[in-house]
Amino acid sequence: MKGVFAHKFWVVVWPYIWMLVFFALPFGFILKISLAESMIAMPPYSDIWSWSDGHFTWLGSFDNYRFLLEDDLYYLAYFNSLRLAAVSTVLCLFVAYPMAYGISRMEEPYRSLFLLLVILPSWTSFLIRIYAWIGLLKTNGLVNHFFMSVGLVDEPLTMLHSDFAIYLGIVYGYLPFMILPIYANLMKLDHSLIEAGYDLGARPWKVFLTIILPLSMSGVVAGCFLVFIPAVGEFIIPELLGGPDTLMIGKVLWQEFFVNRDWPVASAIAVVMLTFLIIPIYFYRRLEMKQLGVGE
């Protein structure tokens, strides 16, 4: 019996250890730095407390957070990041759902093949694939060449360095993260429920809206989080495909850290970003619990 309990203990404790070492601890450091002051030193920030002669002094302050509120640069960057991430998540959903649904309805050899094709691009570095889009989208790039040769446009379109290019990049880059959870969910869907919908007089579109979509909602929500959260902090895509005036929090954070070498402000930005992302996750968890009937 003892062996079984010990085994159980380690099964449960392992995620805790992982989260402690790779989430809680680093976050503690970031939180600590965000309360300090920038200094030209090594490391480039001050202590937030001191301990001398058995005397404890608190030196930390919320000045960095106050600073984020004062300058509308940060406020705009947050807002812009959330907006870009939200729009691209919705676009991603609209592209991914029909694909996931189509694949889930395929016969076996094709289903595995298409699933593989969805994941296949991830075997090439993300950075390289985003670079490739530059070649496609630039003024004298492949896409413009094609449009002009078929006479669709007379002058090359400006597609690169725009919000459009960012949306495209995010949708392209994060599509598998949207497809896979929705696909997994649709595969679990009992086909007789769909037939029951038809049988009771619902037309195909109605069956989709009232049965298939609600029953695959947890996959949709999971996919949206998997796309939205990294998209908010995305740095590579806005840096490479976005315009010079594209304000995204990932870029601002990078600038504060590497250009201004202001670690405390950069840390404060990161803490605020995390808070923004935790709120929707918290509400989603509550919704999920309610659906499962926990605590009813």
Binding site: D190, S192, L193, E195, A196, G197, Y198, D199, L200, G201, A202, R203, K206, T210, I211, P214, L215, G293
Partner: protein, 368 residues
């Protein structure tokens, strides 16, 4: 359209369904009366489910026609057919309450809300589930889910109700009770019903008429009693209940059974034909006595080979003594009338089997 044409609720005309090269349903003709409970009975892969799915509109027939109340529904998608189905898994929408599940079909017809609520209450009353209207399917037992599924498929007052293995998801004890109850509800509503089952007891309990299916074809259609007492083929005879078959032949109107000693005389109810056939005897129609002198007709001697006590009756296997059927095992059912058995049999005890001429069923042998 005259009345004679519309006397059937369902007409299946020369219906076939091919999957690749295999005929799942092969030239089936059926006429189902209004208000009748009709069972399609057969083993797995016999085509009964495919036939049901074609009635519902989930499979498109390769050939033939389906008429419901005299109107062909061949080109109607499932959502336009006056047909509702109770699925084997019940297929209750897990994200909707009992009430929402039942209202779903009514909402598709864009009925006024008050009318929907009234109808939902009505069918919930029919299946005695009023108390559970705001529960989710996961919060119901298997039997309760079945009632809700039945209520949902009755809510739209379909011209045809389909039941796909209605008891398949229930445990054995609940089955017997629900079979009678379901049949009673369906009869009280008066809806025409086609059910699919592999369980002969279920078909015989619930259905007014049964069609035995094998390899996509209908082997026999009739009332449970007809099919049990007058099977028209070896297959139906063996499929429904247990039966003892003895090879025989009819030549010039004379029956000769090589596998039974003495002469076998059949009752008049049997069809008249010539050629190879089987003498079929149901185990409960054979009398078993201790060794005695043999009668001239319908009699055989043997030894007890095996005894199984089943409570309500004993199943006794008798090994035949003489004749070409020597060594052949005959199954006999002996009812347990009394608690203290007056006549018991032992292994290897010599016994005599006898039967009435009316018990003899003659089945024409299948063409080679």
């Amino acid at each position: 359209m005259n009345d004679a044409e519309v006397q059937y609720a369902v007409e299946v005309v020369n219906l076939s369904k091919h999957f690749d090269d295999v005929a799942a349903v092969d030239q089936v003709d059926l006429k189902i009366n209004k208000g009748e409970i009709f069972a399609l009975l057969g083993g797995s892969g016999c085509g009964k489910t495919t036939l049901l799915r074609m009635l519902a509109g989930f499979e498109k027939p390769s050939l033939g026609d389906i008429k419901i109340n005299g109107v062909s529904v061949l080109n109607s998608p499932p959502y336009q057919r006056p047909v509702n189905m109770m699925f084997q898994s019940y297929a209750l929408f897990p994200h909707m309450t009992v009430e929402q599940n039942i209202a779903f079909g009514l909402k598709q017809d864009k009925l006024p809300a008050a009318q929907i609520v009234a109808r939902v209450t009505e069918v919930l009353g029919l299946v005695q589930m009023e108390k559970f209207r705001s529960r989710k399917p996961a919060q119901l037992s298997g039997g309760q889910q079945q009632r809700v599924a039945l209520a949902r498929s009755l809510a739209k007052k379909p011209a045809l109700l389909l039941l796909d293995e209605p008891m398949g998801a229930l445990d054995k004890k609940l089955r017997m009770q629900m079979q009678l109850e379901l049949a009673n509800i369906i009869e009280s509503v008066g809806v025409t019903c086609v059910m699919v089952t592999h369980d002969q007891e279920e078909a015989m309990t619930m259905a007014d008429r049964i069609a035995i299916m094998d390899q996509g074809r209908i082997m026999q259609v009739g009332q449970p009693r007809e099919i049990y007492e007058f099977p028209n083929s070896k297959l139906t005879a063996e499929f429904i209940g247990s039966i003892n078959l003895f090879k025989a032949v009819v030549t010039g109107g004379e029956l000769t059974c090589a596998e039974l000693p003495g002469q076998v005389v059949a009752g008049e109810a049997n069809a008249v034909f010539e050629g190879p056939c089987y003498v079929a005897l149901r185990p409960e129609k054979i009398r078993l006595d201790a060794a005695r002198n043999l009668d001239a007709t319908n009699c055989a001697a043997g030894k007890v080979n095996d005894i199984a006590y089943l409570g309500s009756h004993n199943v006794i296997h008798v090994r035949l003594d003489a004749g070409a059927g020597q060594g052949k095992i005959v199954q006999v059912h002996v009812s347990n009338f009394a608690r203290h058995a007056t006549q018991t049999f032992d292994f290897e005890q010599p016994v005599v089997l006898s039967w009435d001429r009316d018990a003899v069923v003659l089945i024409k042998a299948d063409q080679p």
